[in-house]
């Protein structure tokens, strides 16, 4: 994934700052609670939501099971419709393909439709290195780009910014990128939107090359689908002469008919809209209508490795609606940046360690960035059991085991940092497997309870820094039961 995130500290360290940043906490709380309530309402209106969710899950599972077949079919359909298909095994290859394609047009700038896949591979940075400027045209993405910031949400990349901060970024930065912000710009939403519109319009009219991702690709027809709210994507998809789309291989669906399900569940889950304002669909190229050249770059970048894992593969069903972020109590307090990836929140916590592997500090800490409360699973429109995958990945980190990296099966060793925990877990299991040992431990704890400290030193501070310790009772239940009911003590 993008180099921006290499060397990120572990999640708890990264979250520490966010938790103590009152402005950020306020921005996130307000934004997530608002969209959370709206989504709940939009979903409750649909009487067959449970069936739609199940259908979405099954369509995706079926497609993933036959991914090889559907991808080849997609390539044939796209080619037949006048497009050119490229296959990229990893980020580097995808970036090289796109850079060469842009160079071949002789252009030195591109306009971009908001796309997670191009962020994942760090395309803007790669283009920049090749002397090509990429202009983000999604409003929130523009705010992030102008502010030299990183996105913190899948759908609302600038969710961590409030209106005042956005106004300041526009006033300070717009001039250096193109048309400057109007004099006396205030922080009212209408004025901010107008400033962005003026700034971007100039770019749309000039650009010869557009770069996009896609929400869906239909194997049967070779049609690509982009779902958006602003209409800026539609501009990028229709005005340039050349269109290059970089899409993860898991975005394919077998047939046109399958869109019926996702075009209902995606907008309601993400923006709480019954239907999103702009749904752009294109099939190859058409003379006299839209781009004359169309390239599709199919991106793997860890996806087939993820597909090889029986439990973890369900993460590939994700349609990037971001509902799981908006309900996540951890995301709400830690913010998106702490996840060290373009995929933040619960989905990021299970996707990043699978796409990138669990070797880095941040990736090894992500599966623990959850209280396993299950709110994400409840809202997911394709029923990804995120807690199940989190626990599965914890197991991979704590106990090691088989995983697939770059197409090869590897046996991972247990992570180093977990040795003390592993010993404690084993000791606890030993005691719990022997009621007599448990009983002896309880007796010892009760017998010494007057000397128990109120706070703990060292790692125990993680508890007692903010919470009182529970008092050990004079007698365990087991001891009481035996004393009063004469239960037989079981000692092995």
């Amino acid at each position: 994934m993008s180099g921006t995130f290499i060397g990120m500290p572990a999640f708890p360290k990264a979250a520490h700052e966010a938790v103590n940043n009152a402005t950020l906490r306020g921005n996130l709380r307000h934004a997530t609670h608002t969209i959370r309530a709206k989504r709940a309402k939009a979903v409750a209106e649909v009487s067959d939501w449970a069936e739609l969710r199940e259908a979405g899950k099954r369509i995706k599972d079926h497609t993933l099971r036959h991914l090889d077949r559907y991808l080849v079919q997609l390539e044939e359909s796209v080619t037949a419709a006048g497009g050119v298909v490229h296959w990229a095994a990893d980020a580097e290859e995808a970036n090289r393909i796109v850079t060469d394609l842009v160079r071949a047009t002789g252009e030195s700038e591109v306009v971009k439709v908001k796309s997670m896949a191009t962020q994942e591979i760090g395309l803007n940075e790669a283009l920049e290195a090749a002397g090509i400027r990429a202009y983000e045209t999604d409003l929130a993405e523009l705010i992030v780009q102008l502010g030299k910031d990183r996105p913190s949400h899948i759908l609302v990349p600038a969710i961590h910014r409030n209106r005042g901060e956005i106004r300041d970024v526009f006033v300070r930065e717009m001039g250096a990128w193109g048309r400057a912000a109007p004099e006396g710009l205030t922080d009212t939403p209408a004025e901010l939107a107008e400033a962005a519109r003026l700034h971007l319009r100039e770019k749309f009219l000039r650009a010869k090359v557009g770069v996009s991702g896609a929400n869906f690709m239909v194997a049967e027809t070779g049609t690509l689908v982009v779902v958006e709210s602003e209409g800026n994507g539609r501009m990028c998809l229709t005005l340039p002469e050349t269109l290059i789309s970089v899409v993860g291989i898991e975005k394919v669906v077998p047939a046109w008919r399958d869109l019926e399900v996702f075009l209902q569940t995606l907008p309601r889950s993400s923006t709480a809209e019954r239907m999103n304002p702009y749904t752009s669909m294109w099939t190859g190229t058409t003379d006299g209508d839209g781009p004359r050249t169309f390239h599709l770059v199919l991106l793997d970048n860890g996806r087939t490795d993820t597909l090889a894992d029986e439990v973890g593969r369900q993460a590939l069903r994700c349609i990037r609606c971001s509902a799981c972020l908006n309900v996540c109590p951890v995301y709400e307090r830690a913010g998106g940046h702490a996840y060290g990836s373009v995929y933040p929140g619960p989905i990021g916590a299970i996707l990043s360690p699978q796409l990138r592997g669990t070797a880095s500090e941040i990736d090894a800490s992500l599966p623990y960035a959850s209280s396993l409360c299950g709110a994400c699973y409840d809202v997911c429109p394709v029923a990804i059991d995120i807690p199940e995958v989190l626990v599965h990945l914890r197991e991979r980190i704590a106990q090691g085991g088989r995983a697939t990296r770059n197409g090869d099966t590897v046996v991972l060793r247990p992570a180093k940092g977990h040795a003390a925990e592993r010993a404690a877990m084993r000791a606890a299991r030993w005691a719990f497997d022997r009621p007599g040992a448990l009983r002896a431990g309880q007796r010892l704890a009760s017998g010494t309870r007057r000397f128990h400290p109120r706070t703990l030193p060292g790692p125990g501070r993680a508890w007692s820094g903010t919470r009182e310790l529970p008092a050990v009772p004079a007698e365990s239940f087991r001891a009481w039961w035996q004393r009063t009911r004469g239960g037989k003590d079981v000692t092995e």
Binding site: V330, C373, V391
Partner: protein, 278 residues
């Protein structure tokens, strides 16, 4: 009906009053309760922290100890969910790993007969009015594994509403996690503490005297936070409220202010119940 109490290791060791309350309550309702002494821990903390293989012997022990009973009742939403949701999954994983059917078959019998306390009361015994009396203002926090794992729904609230003298106040943001999450509380203590503080502030805003839940692990975290934030509220397990009667009030009915014990509520729990003579 032969009913076994699966108290859980946390309650056995730290919250014996909750166990006594379940025994009192079920006995009052005419149920004969046994506490099989071979029981220890369901393995949830192991499983959820990534030590599934360490959890397996504990699950097998659970199945062995409780297999002979007609029903297994536990005053913990999360341990109940461990048995009902995750034991079958452990069996499936063992099968997928080529280790055969043995684990799945060993665990299968206990899965459908394990009930969280409020489920057992409402679904099996068919009661919502258990004849309890608890003259306090109470707000109820539905813990995540009970709410989303077991789908307890409004059972706990229906039981609480039928308690004499009890005034139930709605908790704002009730369905948000309190931030305990087992080892999450230690591994991500900043976020966990922030979640706990928000939960406590919401609870305080109800003006209730008592915050009730069906899981003492969450209450340990919420109560510990209350103690540090010096709120006047007490955390009380639902079993203790339902066990309380006019003739035999318990669980804080005559307790002093919260925060006086090492954990808020611990002082109250030691009250009115049998202290060991030793």
């Amino acid at each position: 009906m032969r009913v076994a109490l699966f108290l859980t290791c946390v309650n056995d060791t730290l919250y014996p009053d909750t166990g006594r309350a379940v025994v009192d309550l079920l006995t009052r309702l005419g149920v004969e309760v046994d506490f099989p002494m071979g029981q220890t821990c369901c393995g949830q903390a192991h499983y959820n922290t990534g030590y599934r293989h360490e959890a397996e012997p504990l699950a097998r022990r659970f199945a062995e100890v409780f297999g002979e009973y007609e029903a297994i009742v536990t005053p913990s939403g999360s341990c109940g969910a461990m048995v009902r949701e995750l034991y079958p999954r452990m069996g499936e994983r063992a099968r997928a790993e080529g280790r055969g059917d043995t684990l799945a078959r060993t665990l299968a019998p206990v899965v459908p007969k394990t009930y969280e306390l409020t489920e057992f009361l409402v679904d099996v015994l068919g009661v919502t009015d258990v004849g309890a009396y608890y003259p306090h203002t109470v707000t109820y926090h539905p813990t995540c594994h009970g709410l989303r794992g077991l789908g307890l729904g409004d059972r706990p609230r229906r039981l609480l509403r039928a308690v004499g003298g009890l005034e139930l106040r709605e908790l704002p943001g009730a369905e948000e996690c309190c931030g305990f999450g087992g080892t999450f509380a230690l591994k991500n203590s900043d976020v966990s503490a922030a979640m706990g503080a928000d939960k406590v502030r919401n609870a305080e805003s109800t003006g209730a005297e008592v915050l009730c839940a069906a899981d003492n692990s969450c209450l340990m975290h919420i109560g510990g936070t209350m103690g540090r934030l010096r709120t006047g509220m007490r955390p009380v397990h639902i079993a203790e409220i339902l066990a309380s009667t006019e003739a035999r009030p318990r669980a804080g009915t005559e307790a002093g202010p919260a925060g006086t014990g090492a954990i808020a509520g611990a002082g109250s729990r030691a009250n009115g119940t049998e202290e060991p003579k030793a």
